[in-house]
Symmetry: C2
């Protein structure tokens, strides 16, 4: 049974805090294993990657076989139906259009003191994209990572995807081709992350690694962080739906289940101002769970971590939502725009009953890689910014240095950094000598 919480109950605060604090992550202690794998790849390069791929994926390759050839990619793509291909292309186009608008502008100006200041954005030169194999192999995630990288202008985008026992998902290769991925390697796990970060004879190193993965991949990303950049370490997915009674309970049930079916550790929460509606949604979920294909996943997620919270009014819903800081927030109320405007902390907001969260997973345009585990309080979803970096610019004229240099010298002296002060003073003295 999911939890039913009433904000007016005396024990609400305790129950709500328990809901917020529920530990949903499997975090097996794989760090020592991962450290060994990374050290092995650094020491032995391709040979280590090949051995580990044989061990974990039961796939025996030689170095020439690590990378998919263009002929292989064409052959797999030929297996994709026209309808699936069209759906991927529509998604890619919409994701590209959205992310193009995120491109930040350079700036350079001269201020009153005569100092010219600004910044310039440049893309990361080479990025690596991790794509999980096995059951959770999502072509949509390929698009959500690869399209922003290419929009940002990343010159070389290398993708790794394990193919356990040689099993390849043609849609993943098709998505990579549509998104413009430059290289695809049939490897996975910590060894793939290490190969991307440090390079091997066959795989050139990259500067940034993004993409989801299991506990080994997450541990490897943490370990190589600093040597390369990484995106977030994502936790289990979450959705919060705020809905009033004027909704079809079955729609809301399906929206909650579309998170629950991702992962037994996923969390789906409904906040409503009508207890009877909450019960109706709960019943609709039970009815859907009878036949849902992934009921063995969605059922435990809903029973263990699901919740239906009844509030007195939607102002209370806003306060609770900001405390949850949900990854996905769906707002199905009469004036959804107004309520959305009041939200401060959320990864993505889906406004109105005609915007099921699943639209955002595939074809809406915004990124589906979003901050989990309340981290929307301080972080954002994946964007072109993750594949860009900013260089700040400063250029002084002699007059500008004369105007603001003495303050720099004074502060340098106050911090006992004499050379800093002298580097300014030597120049000003030269000016004064004419």
């Amino acid at each position: 049974m999911p939890q039913f919480l009433e904000i007016s109950d005396s024990n609400f605060e305790t129950a709500f805090q328990a809901l917020l604090g529920a530990k949903r992550e499997d975090s097996p202690d794989v760090d020592a294993v991962v450290a060994d794998i990374i050290a092995d790849v650094r020491a032995r390069g391709d040979a280590a990657v090949l051995d580990l791929t044989a061990k974990f994926d039961r796939l025996h390759l030689d170095a020439d076989g690590l990378r998919f050839t263009s002929v292989e990619i064409e052959d797999y793509c030929a297996q994709v139906s026209d309808e699936d291909r069209a759906a991927l292309e529509l998604a890619a186009t919409r994701i590209r259009d959205y992310h193009l608008r995120q491109m930040p502008e350079d700036a350079f100006w001269t201020d009153d003191a005569g100092a010219s200041l600004g910044w310039r954005w440049t893309p990361v030169s080479a990025a690596g994209l991790y794509v999980p194999g096995g059951i959770a192999t999502y072509p949509s995630s390929v698009l959500m990572n690869a399209v922003p990288a290419k929009v940002a202008g990343v010159g070389r985008l290398a993708m790794v995807v394990p193919t356990p026992d040689g099993a390849v998902n043609p849609l993943v290769l098709m998505a990579a081709r549509i998104a413009g991925v430059d290289e695809i390697y049939r490897i996975g796990g910590a060894q793939a992350v290490a190969a991307l970060a440090y390079g091997t004879e066959t795989i050139a190193p990259v500067d940034k690694i993004t993409g989801p993965g299991n506990a080994y991949v997450a541990a490897a990303k943490r370990r190589v962080f600093g040597k390369v950049g990484i995106d977030m370490i994502a936790g289990p997915s979450e959705i919060l739906v705020i809905a009033d009674k004027d909704n079809d309970p079955d729609w809301i049930a399906l929206d909650l289940l579309s998170q629950a079916e991702h992962d037994e550790n996923a969390q789906s929460i409904l906040i409503t101002d009508d207890a009877a509606f909450g019960q109706a949604v709960a019943s609709a979920i039970e009815a859907r769970l009878l036949t849902l294909e992934r009921r063995a996943v969605a059922g435990p997620s809903w029973r263990d971590y699901g919740a239906i919270i009844t509030v007195k009014d939607m102002a209370q819903a806003v306060v609770l939502s900001d405390r949850i800081a949900p990854e996905h927030l769906e707002i199905c109320v009469a004036d959804a725009d107004s309520l959305a405007d009041q939200i401060t902390h959320a990864g993505a907001i889906f406004i109105g009953a005609w915007t099921p969260e699943a639209i955002g997973d595939y074809v809406g345009g915004p990124n589906h890689v979003l901050p989990t585990a309340r981290s929307a309080r301080f972080s954002s979803g994946l964007s072109v910014m993750d594949f860009l970096k900013r260089t700040t610019l400063a250029k002084m004229t002699p007059d500008a240095l004369a105007a603001i240099g003495p303050a720099a010298e004074r502060l340098a002296i106050s911090e006992s950094l004499q050379a800093h002060g002298l580097s300014v003073r030597a120049r000003i003295d030269k000016l004064n000598r004419g």
Copy 2:
């Protein structure tokens, strides 16, 4: 002796790679100690913070004494000279002006399919700023962290600064007051990071922690990452100067020494196309080191990690600079603007001989918290973006859902996520029924 490298030498590539790979960080293994400190603060709150402050800072406080009172702050600020205060105010104004221009814009538009899309930026609600105590206590760092946070709109900015044996730097408090810091606590080390991340009876938790610190502080920031956001983990400072022979060797010597004096592990590199000029700079450095106040720091830094590289032309300098990806890059050549335009990887560029790097440390306007250890390949300096997060927005009309929903449904089915597909299908069926 610093290293002298000639790009035309047969062993250049080996020597250059050794320079790039030189391990300059002291990384004592403090992680276990830090884990214990964090656990203690989480378990005992104020009592743990007070015990650890007595132990490490030899400062015996009660809970009421953790926070500087406004009267105490006023008293310390009264000790600051008018000249120092004016210099801090000039710096704060210029840093504020620069960072105001970084504020990103919200967006919301409706596309051809009838889908309304966009994003909204909101500030982090509460941020914590770590300020080192002891010898490396820099009021300029208070400004560089606190001003962007306040420009971003952070509502509550809490600062921690250890006061070993009760020693307080009035300039640090003055900088905090000028920047608008809301709360100041006289604590430091891993215990201060833990208190900011998890909260105690006296200190409310924050959402993001920034600011430099020693190995204990860095380890604590790594450990609380995820619970809160953090800025980068900065390594020792670096400068690369590209200079031709038409420069005063003493100016360039001082610029190189102004990094070297920060830290024995700092690194200063000169690239020049004139070997004799390189020798002249080396001589000027030796001359300055005879009297420099911090020669005991700058001398070892220059001798152990300094380098002078001679190239044939400035095109080679650009290539080497991008391989170094320096934190600070100073360009002192005839056409400095043109050379700056060719650079891809650098934290900050100082253009022309009248722009000593020290200007950027204090009063230029751009942030002095910059990516070290070659991480300018994939990351950027501190900015208002570090104190903002983006919520993506999507709103479908029934027609928009009818237009793009089927593609989402198709992709959901291809990923075996049935509930995702049904959440779209249930709505489209309703439309079709009219």
